[in-house]
Amino acid sequence: MKNIHHKITMVLIAALIFGSSCKKYLAVNDNPNNPTQVPVDTRLVGAITTTNGASMWRAAREVAGIMQYGATKNTTGANKDAETWRMTASYFLWQNAYTWAIPNCVDLALLGEKDGSPHFVGAGKLLKAVNFGLLTDQYGAIVLTDAYNGESQVKLTPKVDSQQVVYQEIDKMLDEAIAAFSSTANKTPLNNSNGDIIYKGDVEKWKRFAWSLKARYLNHLSRKGSLYVPAKIIEACTNGFNADGMDAEFPYLAGGQQTDENPWYSWGGFTSVTDPRYFTWTQFFVDILTKLPVTEAVYQDPRISRIMSPAPSDSKYRGLRSGLGLAGGQGGTGTFKNEVDYGRFSNSGFYTKQTSPFPFITYSEVKLIEAEARLRSNDITGAITAYEQGVKANMRKLGVPAAEINAYWAAQLANGLNAHFSSLTNGLSHIMRQKYISLCLNPETWVDMRRMDYSQQIYGPGLQRPANLNTVVFSATNPNDWIRAMVYETNEQNRNPEAVGDNSEQTRLRTRLWWDRP
C-alpha cells in the first residue's frame, strides 16, 4: 500500500507541475497569419485607398449612368440597368462603404488618439465623414451611431439614423477633424510611412480639405429653410481650398496590380473591349460642353477635348442618348450608329486614363459652392467672382491654356453672364452646369441634380429621363418622375429587416431624401 501512496503522490506532483505550465501550453491562439494591430501611420494609406476605391468609386460606378455622364452600348445585358434606373437591392455601395472603408477610418482616428497624434484623428474623422456623406446622399437614413466604433463587438441589428441626424454628425465629425488638424501637439507625422498619398503630410491642406467638405454638406441644405445658412457656407469656403494645387484627389498608379489603376480605365468593368460598362459619353454631356447656359448658344468648351476623345471616323464629338445604346444613334436621333462614330468613354481624357486621379473635392467645387451661397444671399457680384474662379480653376486643372480660358470667359460674358446672375434660376444654371463639368463622374453631381429637381431650366433641354425607362417603378408618362435615392442592399434587408423597413424599389427609388424636401 505504501507503494500506491507513493505513486499517487507522484501523480499529484506531476499534475501540479502540469497545471502551472498548462496556461503557457495553451497560449497559441494569437493569430499567426495576420496582425490585429499595426502602428497608426501605417493605417492611413488603407483608409484613403478604401474610402476612394471601395466607397467613392462604388458610389460613382452606377451613378455615372444615372447622372448621364456615360452611356452603354447595348440595350441588353446588365450594363444598361443603371442608366435606365433598374436599380435593385443588388446595388452594393452600402456594403463596400461599411465593410471595406469605414472601419479603417474609425481605427485611424482611434489609434491616432491612443498614439497622441491628433493629425491621424483628423484624417480618420474626415474620411469617415466622406464615407457617411456618400452613403446618406444615396440612401438617406443610414447606420451611423450604431456603426463600427473600433471598440464594441459586432452589432447584429444596427439601427439607422435619420438623415438630419446624419448631417449633424457629419458636420460634427468635420469640426472635430478641423480641431484635430489644428493641434500643435502631434507625435507621429501624417506622412511618417509615406501613407499620406493625398498631401504628403501637409496638415494645412488636410484642414482646408475638411473645411471644403463642410461647405459641401452645408450647401446640400439649400431646400431646408432656416437650416441653410449662406454665411456659414461662405465661411467654410473661405477656410477651404483657396488656390490651385490643393485638390483632394486619389492618385492611381500604373505598373502595380491591376487594382492600382483607375477603374474607369481598367478593372471597373472596362477591360471588356466588346461591352464595357460605359461605351461612350452621353449627348447630354456633349451638349453641356458645346453650348452655353441659359441661351443654349453654341460654343465649344475647350475642356471637351481634355475630357473626351473625338469620333475616330470624323473627329467630331458625339454622345448617345441614355437607354438607347448605339442603336439609338447620336442623342437618340437614329443617326451615327457605328462604333467609330463615337470616342470611347474609357481611356479618353482627363478622367478615364490609366492613372487619372479621382478627386474627392476640388478648389473649383469650393468656389462654385461659394458662388451658389452668395447668389442665394443676393451677393451677385460676389457670386460671379467666385463662379469665375471656380470655372477657371477647373480649366487650368485640365491644362487649358490661358488664351483659350480667356476666350471662353469672354464668350460667357458676351452671352450675358452678368445679366443671367440677376436671376436665381439662370445663375444656378450657370453654376450647376459648370459643376457638372468640373465634378465630372463625381457622385456629388447627383446631389446637385436632385437639389435642382433635374430641371431643364438649370441643365438645359438636353436633360431628359432615359429611354427604355424602368416603368415597373417609374411612371411612363410623367416626365417629372425622376430617380431620387437607392434601394438598400439585399444583405442588409435580409439580416437587419427592421432597420431597413420598406425596401421596395417603388418606395426607395422614388422617395425624396430629407434634404430633397422643402
Binding site: L26, P32, N33, I102
Partner: protein, 1006 residues
C-alpha cells in the same frame, strides 16, 4: 488488442494439481487467446495465451468455467485427466458482443446505456469501397453517408444524427486505435473554390483491409470521453492485430466501372442563337437538326469504362509474448473520364510484446501515399461542360491544325481540359502509435498511449496557356503545400473492485493532450513565358503571389469514468470531463461536462430472481437511457478582428493594412458551446436470438453555438463569430436483426436498419432568419445550401418569382415573370428516412450477401439541369417557340395579364433559369449498394496445396438504382465534404456522376 485490464492472476494456495489445455474456435479450429478459465466457487482464474493454451491449478471434482466474450460459456468438471481441450462455439449475434468505445477499451455491449453499432472487417471489405466512410453506407442506423460523386478520390460526407453546428464542421471524429486522426476536407485549395475542385476527405488514406472493425458512437454520451471534438459522434476504427500461428494473406480485386446515370439531353435543336445557326455559339438555341445530320453523343463518348486494381498482402503471427501484423497495399483506380486517377499505397506494421507479467508495450506505424489527379468541375470551364456541348459539333475534336485548343467561344473544350488543366494532390502520411500497458496489481491498470498523425499535401492546379479562363489566357498555376499534424497523448488509470460478488466497480481517471497544427504555403503565378512549361518559375516575378497560413490548436482534458454494475444485470455509468482549449479566451477556456447512462437486462434480472425460466419467447431484453452534455470550443485564431493587405479583383488595392473583410470578424468574448442530449432505447431478442429489435429515440440540442455567421454589412463585416443560435436534432433508430434460416449447411440472415432525423434550427442571433453557406452556391448564385430559422438545417436558399401578398405572380410590362430580389427556402435536403437492408445467405462454402440502401425524401437542387436550360440542351426547353400567357398581374399596372409571350432563348436563359424552385427535385432512392458472391474453396482441397484459405468473390456495386430524380445518380454533393454547417450534399452541380461497377477478386491465406 485484448483488454489486459481484465487480466487477473491470483496466486494459488497449493495442494491441487495443475491442468493444462488448449481452447479453440469450434468453427475454424483456430486457437482462442484471452479465454477466461475460472474455478467455480473460487476466485481462481486465468487466461489463455495467444496460442490458446492455459494452465490452472484445481482439485478433481471442481468445475472449470470457460468463458469468452462472444462465445457460449462452457463448464467442465475436472476428473483425472491432466489436460482439457475445449472447442468453444462463438455466437453469430452474441449478447455479450464487445465493442470498442473510448481509447481502445473494449466494453461489453450489453453494459452500455446508449446505442453503438459495429461494422466488422468482412462487411467493410465486401463493399469494395476505397473510402472507408463509404464502406459504412447503409449499414449503420442514424448515419447518413453521401459520396460527392464519381471522380476517384471524391470526398464522402458522414452525418451522424443530423448536424449540431450551423456553420462549423458536422463531421464525426475519426479515431484509429485510440488516436484521433485527421478527416478534414480542404475547402478551396489553391484559390480554387470548393465547388470547382472539391478535395478528398482524408480518411480516404486509410486502407480498408487494415481494419478489423469500425464502431460508430452516435451520440454525445457515447462520445463524452473523447472530449469536445466528439460532439458529432465518433467513428472508432480498430485495426487488425497479429497473434497465433504465422499467416500470410493475399487478396486482390479488379474492378470495372461505368457511369451510372446521365441526364437526358434534347437532340432536336442545334447550335446557335435565337433560332439561327451560329458556329461560334456555346449554346444550342439554333435551328432544328435536319434529317440525316449527325447528332453527336458528346456526353456518352466522354465517358469510358474505368479500371481499378487492388492488391493487399499481410503477414501476421506471434507467440505467447508477442504479436505482429504487417501489411502492404496498392490501390490504383482510374475514372470514368480519361485521366482521372486515384492511387494509394500503404504500409503498416503493428507489434506488441509482453515484457513481464505486468508490463506490455506495443506500437504501430502506418505510411500512406495517396495521389489524385482530377479536374475542375461545376461550371462551363469544368470537365462536365461536356454535358452542354452543342450536339452538331464533335467535342472530341479538341485541337486545331496548329495544335491550339479547338473550342467554342467562352469556355474550354473539356477534352482539352483533360490534357491541359490537371489538378493533382499528393499526400504522404504517417500515423504512428505507441502504448504501454502496466498492471501493477490485479485491480489496477495503467495505460499510456501516444500517437501522431502527420501528413503533407502537395496540391497543384495548372491552367495551361491557351485556356479561355479570363486573365489566365497565357496560363496559370496554383500550388499549395500543407503540413498537418495531430499529436495525442493519453494516460488512463483504471481501478476495479468487487463487493460481495454483487457489485462491481471500475473507475478510470484519464488525462489527454491534443496538439494540432496546420501550416501551408500557397503560391500563384500566371502568364507563362514559355507556353508549354507550366511552372511557377516560368513566370515573371510581378505575375507571382505567395501567401502563408498557420493554424494551431491545443486541447488538454481530464476525465473520469465510473462504472457500477450489479451482478452484470444492471449497469450505471457516470462520466465527467473538463477541457481546456487554446482557442477560447482565457477567461472561458475551461469547461466541464458530465454524462450519465444506465441499462438494465430485464430478462436476466427476471431469470436471476427466478420469475422466468431460460427457454421462452423473449430470450433477451434490455432497456437503456442516457443523458449527456458535451462542450465544444471555437475554431483557432478567431478571438480578434485582424488586418490584411488584400482585397479582391474588383476592389482597389489597399497599398497597406486594412480591416480584414475576407475573414470572419473576431470575437474576444466567445464562450464554449454545449450539446445536450437524451437517449432512450431498448434491445429485445426473441426466439433464441433469432429475431432482435433495437430501438432508440434521441433528442439533442445545441444552443449558444459558436457561430460563424453572416451579418448585415452595416455591422462592418459580412462574417462574424459569435455565440448564438440553436439546433435541435430529434430522431429514432430501429435495427432489426433476423436469422430466418439456421441449418447445418445453410443460413440466412436478414438485417434492417432505419432511421429518421429532423435537424431544426430553433434560434438564430439577431433577426437573422437563415444561415447561408457561400461555399455551396450553385447555378450562377441561383441557390445555395442554408439553414432556416424554425426550418431545416439542410435547406435550400434559392431564387423565386416575384409575387404579391396573395401569391399572384407579378409580371413585367412585357408579361414575363420577374425574379424576387431576396431568396427563399425552396427545399429541404434532409431525407425523411434512411435505411439499409442486408441479406446474407451461406450455403456450405458459398455465401451471397447484398445490401439495399434506401433514402426516402430529401430534395436535390439540380443545378446541372439549370446549366442545361441555359445552354438549350435541357429537354425542358423543347417547347421553345411556343407562347403562353403567364397567370399573374402586370406589376406596374396591377392589371390581369393577357399578354401572350414566347418561350424563347431569352426567357429560358435570363428569366426561367434565374429562379431556383423549379430545379428542386425529390432525391429519394432505392439502390442495390452492393451484392457480393463469395466461394471458399473447401479445406480438403486446400490442404493438398498447403493453403489455409482461398476465397473467390465477385461483387456488383450500384447495379440497381430506382429513383425519380431526373439527373445523374442522386448521390451528389456540389462542393464536397469540406463545407460546414448545412453542407453541400444534395446540390447537383456539374460534377463527375457516380458510377456502377463490378469487382472480382480473391483472398488467399497461407
Amino acid at each position: 488488442m485484448l483488454p489486459l485490464i481484465l487480466l487477473i492472476t491470483l496466486e494459488s494456495d497449493g495442494q491441487q494439481k495443475t491442468l493444462t489445455g488448449k481452447i479453440t474456435d469450434s468453427q475454424d479450429g483456430l486457437p482462442l487467446p484471452g479465454v477466461t478459465i475460472a474455478v467455480k466457487g473460487t476466485s481462481r482464474s486465468t487466461l489463455t495465451d495467444n496460442g490458446g493454451n492455459f494452465s490452472i491449478t484445481a482439485d478433481p471434482g471442481q468445475v472449470l468455467i470457460f468463458s469468452f466474450v462472444g462465445a457460449t460459456p462452457v463448464e467442465r468438471t475436472i476428473g483425472n485427466e491432466a489436460s482439457i481441450d475445449v472447442a468453444m462455439e462463438k455466437n453469430i449475434k452474441s449478447l455479450s458482443e464487445v465493442v470498442v468505445t473510448a481509447f481502445g477499451v473494449e466494453q461489453e455491449k450489453r453494459a452500455l446505456g446508449y446505442s453503438v453499432q459495429e461494422v466488422k472487417s468482412r462487411e467493410i471489405t465486401d463493399s469494395h469501397q476505397p473510402n472507408i466512410v463509404n464502406a459504412l453506407q447503409g449499414k449503420v442506423a442514424g448515419v447518413q453517408i453521401t459520396n460527392s460523386g464519381g471522380a476517384p478520390g471524391a470526398s464522402a460526407i458522414m452525418l451522424i444524427r443530423g448536424g449540431t453546428s450551423l456553420s462549423g464542421n458536422n463531421q464525426p471524429l475519426y479515431v484509429v486505435d485510440g488516436i484521433p486522426i485527421d478527416n478534414s476536407t480542404p475547402v478551396g485549395q489553391g484559390g480554387l473554390s470548393a465547388s470547382a475542385a472539391p478535395a478528398s476527405n482524408r480518411a480516404i488514406d486509410i486502407n480498408p483491409e487494415d481494419i478489423a472493425s469500425i464502431t460508430v458512437l452516435k451520440g454525445p454520451s457515447a462520445a463524452a470521453l473523447y472530449g469536445l471534438r466528439a460532439a458529432d459522434g465518433v467513428v472508432v476504427i480498430t485495426t487488425k492485430k497479429g497473434g497465433g500461428a504465422t499467416r500470410i494473406n493475399y487478396s486482390n480485386s479488379f474492378s470495372f466501372d461505368v457511369v451510372n446515370r446521365v441526364p437526358e439531353l434534347q437532340s432536336v435543336y442545334k447550335q446557335g442563337e435565337q433560332g439561327v445557326f451560329n458556329p461560334a455559339s456555346t449554346a444550342s438555341w439554333g435551328p432544328a437538326f435536319q434529317p440525316g445530320e449527325t447528332v453527336y453523343d458528346n456526353l456518352g463518348n466522354f465517358f469510358k469504362t474505368a479500371f481499378t486494381q487492388k492488391h493487399d498482402i499481410s503477414a501476421s503471427g506471434g507467440n505467447d509474448r508477442s504479436t505482429f501484423y504487417s501489411s502492404a497495399s496498392v490501390f490504383d483506380q482510374d475514372g470514368i473520364v480519361k485521366n482521372l486517377e486515384f492511387k494509394r499505397y500503404s504500409f503498416r506494421l503493428a507489434a506488441d510484446t509482453r515484457i513481464s507479467d505486468k508490463l506490455k508495450v506495443g506500437g504501430s506505424a502506418n505510411y500512406n501515399k495517396t495521389s489524385r489527379l482530377y479536374f475542375s468541375q461545376g461550371d462551363a470551364n469544368g470537365i462536365m461542360a461536356a454535358l452542354f456541348w452543342p450536339r452538331n459539333d464533335d467535342m472530341s475534336n479538341y485541337l486545331n491544325a496548329n495544335k491550339t485548343q479547338r473550342t467554342i467561344t467562352g469556355a474550354d473544350n473539356p477534352y482539352w481540359g483533360l490534357e491541359k488543366k490537371p489538378i493533382t494532390s499528393n499526400v504522404d502520411r504517417i500515423i504512428a502509435i505507441g502504448n504501454i500497458i502496466y498492471d501493477p496489481f490485479s485491480f489496477l491498470n495503467i495505460t499510456y498511449r501516444i500517437g501522431t498523425d502527420y501528413f503533407t499535401d502537395n496540391f497543384t492546379s495548372i491552367r495551361s496557356a491557351g485556356t479561355t479562363i479570363v486573365s489566365e489566357e497565357r496560363g496559370a498555376i496554383s500550388q499549395t503545400s500543407a503540413n498537418n499534424q495531430i499529436t495525442t497523448s493519453t494516460l488512463l488509470v483504471t481501478g476495479r473492485k468487487s463487493f460481495r460478488e454483487k457489485f462491481n466497480f471500475s473507475l478510470t481517471l484519464g488525462h489527454n493532450v491534443e496538439n494540432a497544427r496546420t501550416q501551408s504555403v500557397s503560391s500563384f503565378g500566371r502568364n507563362f513565358i514559355a507556353p508549354d512549361f507550366p511552372n511557377l518559375n516560368n513566370t515573371v516575378q510581378s505575375d507571382r503571389t505567395v501567401s502563408q497560413f498557420v493554424s494551431r490548436r491545443r486541447i488538454v482534458g481530464a476525465f473520469g469514468d465510473l462504472n457500477i454494475d450489479y451482478k452484470g444485470l444492471a449497469f450505471l455509468n457516470f462520466r465527467a470531463r473538463n477541457d481546456w482549449s487554446s482557442t477560447l479566451p482565457v477567461k472561458s477556456n475551461s469547461f466541464f461536462y458530465p454524462s450519465v447512462s444506465a441499462s438494465v437486462l430485464l430478462t436476466d434480472l427476471l431469470k436471476e430472481s427466478g420469475l422466468i425460466t431460460e427457454d421462452i419467447f423473449i430470450s433477451f431484453g434490455k432497456i437503456r437511457a442516457a443523458w449527456a452534455r458535451v462542450g465544444k470550443d471555437a475554431p483557432p485564431h478567431v478571438l480578434a478582428p485582424t488586418l490584411s493587405t488584400a482585397t479582391n479583383t474588383f476592389t482597389i488595392a489597399p497599398r497597406g493594412f486594412i480591416s480584414n473583410v475576407n475573414n470572419f470578424f473576431g470575437n474576444p468574448d466567445l464562450r464554449p458551446e454545449f450539446t445536450n442530449s437524451i437517449e432512450i432505447g431498448t434491445d429485445v431478442r426473441f426466439f433464441r436470438n433469432r429475431l432482435g429489435v433495437d430501438f432508440t429515440y434521441y433528442k439533442t440540442s445545441t444552443d449558444d453555438q459558436i457561430l460563424g455567421t453572416r451579418t448585415p454589412p452595416s455591422s462592418s463585416t459580412f462574417l462574424a463569430y459569435l455565440n448564438g443560435g440553436q439546433i435541435d436534432n430529434e430522431g429514432v433508430e430501429l435495427i432489426l436483426t433476423t436469422r430466418p434460416v439456421v441449418r447445418k449447411n445453410f443460413t440466412w440472415s436478414l438485417d434492417f436498419n432505419f432511421s429518421r432525423n429532423r435537424a431544426t434550427v430553433k434560434a438564430l442571433p439577431g433577426t437573422l432568419d437563415r444561415v447561408e453557406l457561400s461555399d455551396a452556391w450553385v447555378a450562377n448564385n441561383v441557390a445555395q445550401g442554408a439553414g432556416f430559422l424554425n426550418g431545416s438545417l439542410f435547406g435550400i436558399n434559392g431564387s423565386v418569382w416575384k409575387r404579391d401578398a396573395s401569391g399572384q405572380l407579378l409580371l413585367s410590362n412585357t408579361g414575363y415573370p420577374q425574379v424576387k430580389s431576396t431568396l427563399e427556402n425552396i427545399g429541404d435536403r434532409a431525407p425523411d428516412w434512411v435505411g439499409g437492408m442486408t441479406n446474407t445467405f451461406t450455403y456450405k462454402s458459398l455465401s451471397f450477401a447484398f445490401l439495399w440502401d434506401i433514402r426516402i425524401g430529401g430534395d436535390i437542387f439540380n443545378a446541372t439541369e439549370n446549366a442545361l436550360v441555359r445552354s438549350g440542351l435541357s429537354t425542358k426547353t423543347l417547347n421553345r417557340g411556343q407562347s403562353m400567357v403567364f397567370d399573374g398581374i402586370i406589376e406596374s399596372t396591377k392589371a390581369k395579364n393577357t399578354l401572350s409571350v414566347p418561350l424563347n432563348q431569352n426567357y429560358y436563359q435570363t428569366i426561367y433559369s434565374s429562379q431556383g424552385f423549379d430545379f428542386v427535385e425529390d432525391g429519394s432512392w432505392y439502390r442495390l449498394r452492393y451484392a457480393t458472391l463469395a466461394y471458399s474453396v473447401p479445406k480438403s482441397i486446400l490442404s493438398r496445396i498447403r493453403v489455409q484459405n482461398l476465397q473467390l468473390n465477385v461483387t456488383g456495386r450500384n447495379l440497381i438504382l430506382i429513383t425519380n430524380y431526373s439527373g445523374v445518380d442522386p448521390e451528389v454533393s456540389g462542393s464536397g465534404a469540406g463545407v460546414g454547417g448545412s453542407g453541400s450534399f444534395g446540390m447537383d452541380n456539374l460534377g463527375v456522376p457516380a458510377t456502377r461497377g463490378v469487382d472480382i477478386g480473391l483472398r488467399l491465406t497461407f
